[in-house]
């Protein structure tokens, strides 16, 4: 057992002792979670830079030009005809930035005026201007950003991470999603690594019968299962099911506590916009969430990370939320009003609590938009060079990696393919994507197949 694992699990172990499960060695606890059997090493491959990951997944493909990427030539050459390689239904006229862009912080990161709160925390961000995806349509590209592949139902990166590292909290799943749960499955990995919905989205959490009685039910069911197992000895599925039942039982108390925002101060709730915000009117292709909804998710994410959850994914947008093929000004204005305050609050809050050093925050969508106009006041899909950002756990703050050309139409430096992004996320979490394998379909599968470069250039 290496030092790292002992260190990071100490809190957990102490808590367990307090709960009266003392006397169990760490190895037993790991075996309990099934880690002893299904993780090749049973521990990280190297010293991790981050213990947890929060993904703010902006579904629909947010425009880099109305958020975090400034290209002056869009304004000076507005109206000129250009062709954008790799973009589908790319119109030809260059469309200027819809909003004023300005630099903020010491690093001088650009941000549009729709994000006044983010403007105050820009120095935390490590921007990647050169993200690259294969797929150019929402369903495939969303699958790609979450799993690395646009066709096959492969495991989500969250599943790979818990498969590699397990959960730090025995009473909560290691991989949680708070909004849309599509493409958060474990694929061929053992099912317990699939993303689980927690929070308001989690169905069936409230125990139907009193807890003591439920305990008696599970005890009887467990006993019947064991008798049954003796008669029909086969498959570890049945064992897995007994484990699942126990986790379900514990989650009924741990999950409501973890997501109970009433335990937060008024000040915190206001900072995240859970209270005191208005919901700007919705348009056809904008986020379905309100600022209060999104604030609650960000705050819940922080609470879950505090409790040792490895990966929290917040996929917002009702699938097309950032898909501004038209009415881009109105659409982005509303979306920014929904996410700006809470994202900034999350970064500040994590920083203040000393959690940002061990928590990696990833922001982005499945692709970006073209520098050219569509339907007059919209932008088309563009997966060949869009902007994402990372903050916290092990990445350079106030840094920009990769570059697109003067129009933001094509990458000219340091492409970061989605495979590279995944490899990098895993690396920061202490895992080498080439060594984290699972035998399936006759071969050793990895998160990035034969691809994936760790982008060392962004490491702090």
């Amino acid at each position: 057992m290496n030092d790292f694992l002992q260190h990071t699990s100490r809190r957990d172990a102490v808590r367990r002792l307090a709960c009266g499960v003392g006397g169990l060695g760490l190895a037993t606890l790991l075996a309990d979670e099934g880690l002893a059997t299904d993780v090749p090493a049973g521990r990280p491959h190297h010293e991790p830079r981050a213990k947890s990951l929060i993904f703010l997944n902006m579904q629909g493909g947010p425009s880099q030009f109305e958020t975090f990427t400034y290209k002056p030539e869009l304004n000076t050459r507005a109206g000129q005809n250009v062709t954008v390689a790799g973009a589908r239904n790319a119109a030809t006229k260059i469309m200027p930035h819809a909003f004023p862009m300005a630099q903020h912080g010491e690093a001088g990161h650009w941000v549009s005026d729709r994000f006044p709160h983010m403007a105050g925390v820009m120095d935390e961000l490590c921007l990647i201007e050169s993200t690259y995806a294969e797929d150019n349509n929402h369903p495939g590209a969303q699958r790609e950003i979450l799993t690395g592949f646009n066709r096959r139902p492969m495991p989500c990166f969250g599943s790979w991470i818990t498969y590699g590292l397990g959960s730090e909290n025995r009473d909560l799943p290691g991989f949680v999603y708070l909004a849309n749960g599509q493409h958060h499955g474990a694929g061929f990995l053992p099912a317990r690594h699939q993303g689980m919905p927690v929070g308001s989205k989690m169905p069936n959490l409230r125990n139907w019968v009193p807890r003591e009685e439920q305990r008696a039910q599970l005890d009887l069911a467990g006993r019947l299962n064991r008798m049954h197992l003796e008669r029909h000895a086969e498959t570890n599925d049945l064992d897995a099911r007994i484990e699942a039942a126990e986790l379900a039982f514990r989650m009924q108390t741990s999950a409501p506590e973890a997501v109970d925002l009433n335990r937060e101060s008024k000040h915190t709730l206001a900072a995240y916009g859970v209270i005191g915000t208005k919901n700007p009117p919705r348009q056809s292709r904008t986020l379905t969430e309100s600022p209060a909804d999104f604030g609650a998710m960000c705050l819940t994410a922080r609470r879950l990370v505090e409790r040792g959850v490895r990966v929290v994914s917040i996929s917002v947008g009702g699938r097309r939320g950032w898909d501004q093929h038209g009415k881009l000004r109105e659409g982005i204005s509303r979306n920014a009003a929904v996410v700006d305050r809470a994202m900034a609050a999350l970064l500040k809050d994590l920083r203040q609590r000393g959690l940002l050093d061990s928590t990696l925050v990833l922001w982005g969508g499945e692709f970006g938009r073209t520098p050219t106009a569509e339907n007059g006041d919209g932008r088309a899909h563009h997966p060949r060079g869009f902007t994402t950002w990372l903050a916290g756990g092990g990445v350079k703050p106030g840094f920009t990696y990769g570059k697109t050309d003067e129009l933001g139409a094509a990458i000219v430096e340091d492409k970061v393919h989605v495979h590279d992004l995944h490899a990098t996320l895993l690396w920061l979490m202490g895992l080498d994507h080439r060594r984290l394998t699972f035998r399936y379909g006759g071969r050793d599968q990895t998160i990035a197949d034969v691809h994936g470069r760790v982008v060392e250039g962004i490491f702090a």
């Binding site: 349509n137 369903p139 139902p153 799943p173 749960g181 499955g185 474990a186 099912a191 317990r192 699939q194 689980m196 919905p197 989690m202 169905p203 069936n204 959490l205 409230r206 125990n207 139907w208 019968v209 009685e213 439920q214 008696a216 039910q217 599970l218 009887l220 069911a221 006993r223 019947l224 299962n225 008798m227 049954h228 197992l229 008669r231 029909h232 000895a233 086969e234 498959t235 599925d237 049945l238 897995a240 099911r241 699942a244 039942a245 986790l247 379900a248 039982f249 989650m251 009924q252 094509a410 990458i411 000219v412 430096e413 340091d414 492409k415 393919h417 379909g441 006759g442 470069r453």
Partner: protein
């Protein structure tokens, strides 16, 4: 380039060309900075030698000047004078392609390449690239693959344990066991067999009457009792409901689309009437083009032709359709050849676009209003129809699958690997060719079709296919564990004229099907994955049987098959307006709710080869706290209460209802103690939490 040619022309005959050109500063630069890098990092995959070894990457040869200028499969790689527009530079910078693949070259080296291109690509290397543009597909070699061979069941093999087999299937299975030094497990007990049969054939739990009937049978009469149960189940309309669901998984069915209920009900009827496999396939591919005996059949044919219209991926209709056709009927991933020749199987890009032409020549109406009227009704259908002559014709090969890079026009024809000679052309100036495609696909003389079909039936009944990758019979799929058995089943299938029910019956009545899941430790150790079937696979119930069971146990399942028109008018639900639960079978329910993904339910966007059988905490939470369970568990308890009066009689009745077997004495004791403390409602609910409820053993 012109300048270079001129220099060459002037100097020829005076001194050796190489020496002379080498005097140029550009060439010196090339010799010093570029050639060594090409040799060290590129020639392995991009040279004449690589081409000769069949290892050429992307059709690009960088070991001659002509090769560099010619470029590769995706076009030119250098634009002399313009490094920024040269694909070679972009690849070195890892912007599009990533070369060399191991890791990028140092930035200084890449800068050298930019300089070199700026200088106009000076390069003294003579010679022509080897004339291999594409690797090509070796059809003769590909055709040798086992799956394309004629069916060869051989004689049912001789076995040592001659008293074990109940039929031919068992002899094939036992022979493989014996080859591996294994012996069959004992037979499963009669209750387990009845439960398997009911769930496998109809997706429903046995009724207490079915359990009671088999309970009284003397051991020697058991096979006859199973036989009559199997025939009863095959004759039940619920058979079609269950098997239609299997089929829908393979064709990416989207129930949310207009009029989809018609196709779904057509399937239910096709399975119930045991429609022969050839028309079953042909009607789904080209029902709109087939001649029909009467209005009824014509209506059915049109409905069947909805299959591809409902395959759920409008955006890339041709690709997703060929994916379904290839995988569902042939176990072949045709779609792999969209962008490049198939990496593993003998399917070329030409083969792909030759078939694609039949689909680009057909159309799917945008919505049901524009659809085609079902004869004898007023209903209009989506579906795949040949109705726009102006669109009919061959289509272009797209280089790299990129719609902006057209290659040659590819004549419509059937895939080459299935024919030793020139494959038949299909379609004409006025017809799409889909009819010929349908006739060829739905022809049992073609051994692959029968093999794929019977393998699916085996997969559904036994738990895993004889070919464990039912949608991939290609060289990258898993080979059959029991090749002779596969061919035996396929042969019988063909002999029966393509009767699915006949295959189901044959497998369900085999002794192999009746094996216990339990085997001795040595057998398990030796055959962890249970390849050799010395025991039965344990299987978790899939989503629909879980839902249907809960309703059935509570007496709230409506077994009627709703008419399509009613399904469209009033979409069936499981939850009634008064918040109680009840309704038709899960197949017909439109909104399956979150529990569908909790229990690995159907997908509207993926071809599902085999449902996942995950085991998770949310499943337990559903069974512990779910609204439907809360609503139904007391009703199930009431039924139990009404069937028996004595306390231990009720425990037994609960077991019979939920697990289709009598309770053992120890279980009765545990049950009595629990009921005394917590009541019958809680007890029945607890039984729903056990593995026995959720698994087939």
């Amino acid at each position: 380039m012109k300048r270079q040619a001129l220099v060459l022309g002037l100097l020829v005959g005076v001194v050796s060309v190489t020496t002379a050109v080498a005097d140029e500063p550009g060439v010196a630069f090339f010799e010093k900075r570029i050639r060594p890098v090409l040799v060290a990092h590129c020639y392995e995959c991009h040279s004449a030698e690589a081409a000769r070894n069949d290892e050429l990457g992307g059709g690009l040869q960088l070991d001659t000047r002509a090769g560099v200028l010619q470029g590769g499969e995706s076009g030119p790689v250098v634009v002399p004078g313009k490094p920024a527009e040269s694909a070679l530079v972009r690849a070195l910078k890892y912007l599009d392609a990533e070369m060399p693949p191991e890791k990028p070259l140092p930035k200084a080296v890449i800068a050298d390449f930019e300089r070199w291109i700026e200088l106009g690509v000076p390069d003294p290397r003579e010679g022509e690239p080897v004339a291999v543009r594409r690797k090509g597909v070796d059809y003769d070699e590909g055709r040798k693959h086992w799956a394309y061979q004629p069916l060869d069941p051989g004689e049912p093999p001789k076995v040592q344990k001659g008293d074990w087999p109940a039929g031919e299937i068992d002899r094939y299975v036992l022979a493989r066991m014996e080859e591996h030094g294994l012996a069959p497990a004992v037979d499963a007990d009669r209750f387990a067999v009845v439960r398997r049969l009911c769930f496998d054939l109809t997706g429903l739990p046995p009724t207490p009457e079915q359990v009671a009937r088999v309970e009284k049978v003397a051991p020697p009469d058991l096979p006859a009792a199973y036989e009559s149960l199997v025939d009863e189940l095959l004759a039940s309309p619920q058979f079609g409901v269950h098997w239609a669901r299997h089929w829908l998984d393979g064709v990416r069915f989207n129930p949310q689309l207009e009029t989809s209920a018609y196709y779904r009900n057509w399937l239910v009827r096709a399975f119930n009437e045991d429609m022969r496999y050839e028309p079953f396939v042909q009607r789904q591919v080209a029902g709109d083009l087939l001649e029909a005996a009467d209005v009824d059949e014509a209506a059915g044919n049109l409905v069947a032709a909805q299959m591809l219209a409902y395959n759920g991926r409008e955006a890339d209709f041709v690709e997703s359709s060929l994916e379904v056709l290839g995988q569902q009927f042939l176990g072949l991933s045709l779609n792999c050849a969209k962008c490049h020749d198939h990496e593993f199987d003998a399917v070329s890009q030409e083969d792909y676009y030759a078939l694609a032409g039949t689909l680009t020549s057909s159309t799917v109406p945008k919505n049901a209003r524009d659809g085609v009227v079902i004869p004898g009704t007023e209903t209009k259908l989506l579906g795949l129809f040949d109705d726009e002559p102006k669109k009919i014709g061959d289509t272009y090969l797209l280089l790299g699958g990129d719609r902006d890079r057209r290659g040659d026009l590819v004549p419509r024809r059937l895939p080459q690997v299935f024919f030793e000679d020139e494959p038949p052309r299909i379609g004409s100036e006025t017809t799409s060719g889909r009819l010929e495609l349908a006739r060829w696909l739905g022809d049992l003389d073609q051994p692959l079709l029968a093999r794929v079909a019977v393998n699916r039936v085996w997969q559904r009944l036994v738990g895993r296919g004889i070919v464990p990758t039912p949608n991939d019979f290609g060289t990258n799929g898993d080979p059959p564990t029991h090749p002779r058995l596969l061919d035996h089943l396929a042969t019988r299938f063909v002999e029966s004229g393509g009767s699915t029910k006949a295959v189901v019956r044959k497998i369900a009545l085999s002794r192999t099907y009746r094996l216990s899941v339990r085997a001795d430790a040595a057998t398990v150790q030796q055959d962890l994955e249970n390849d050799w079937l010395a025991r039965a696979h344990t299987r978790r119930l899939s989503f629909e049987p879980v839902m249907d069971s809960l309703l059935a146990h509570a007496g709230e399942l409506d077994l009627a098959i709703p008419e399509p028109v009613d399904q469209i008018k009033h979409w069936p639900t499981r939850k009634r307006k008064d918040k109680s639960f009840g309704g038709p079978r899960a197949l017909f329910v439109r909104d399956q709710g979150r529990e569908s993904s909790t229990f690995d339910g159907p997908s509207t966007e993926l071809i599902v080869v085999e449902r996942a059988r995950s085991v998770t905490a949310p499943q337990m939470m559903y069974l512990l706290n779910g609204e439907m369970v809360r609503n139904l568990a007391p009703k199930i308890a009431k039924r139990v209460e009404s069937t028996a009066t004595s306390p231990d009689g009720r425990i037994d009745a609960a077991y019979r209802l939920l697990f289709a077997r009598p309770a053992a004495s120890e279980e009765v004791e545990l049950g009595l103690a629990f009921v005394a403390e917590h009541g019958l409602d809680r007890y029945v609910h607890t039984l729903l939490l056990t593995n026995e409820f959720l698994y087939l053993h």
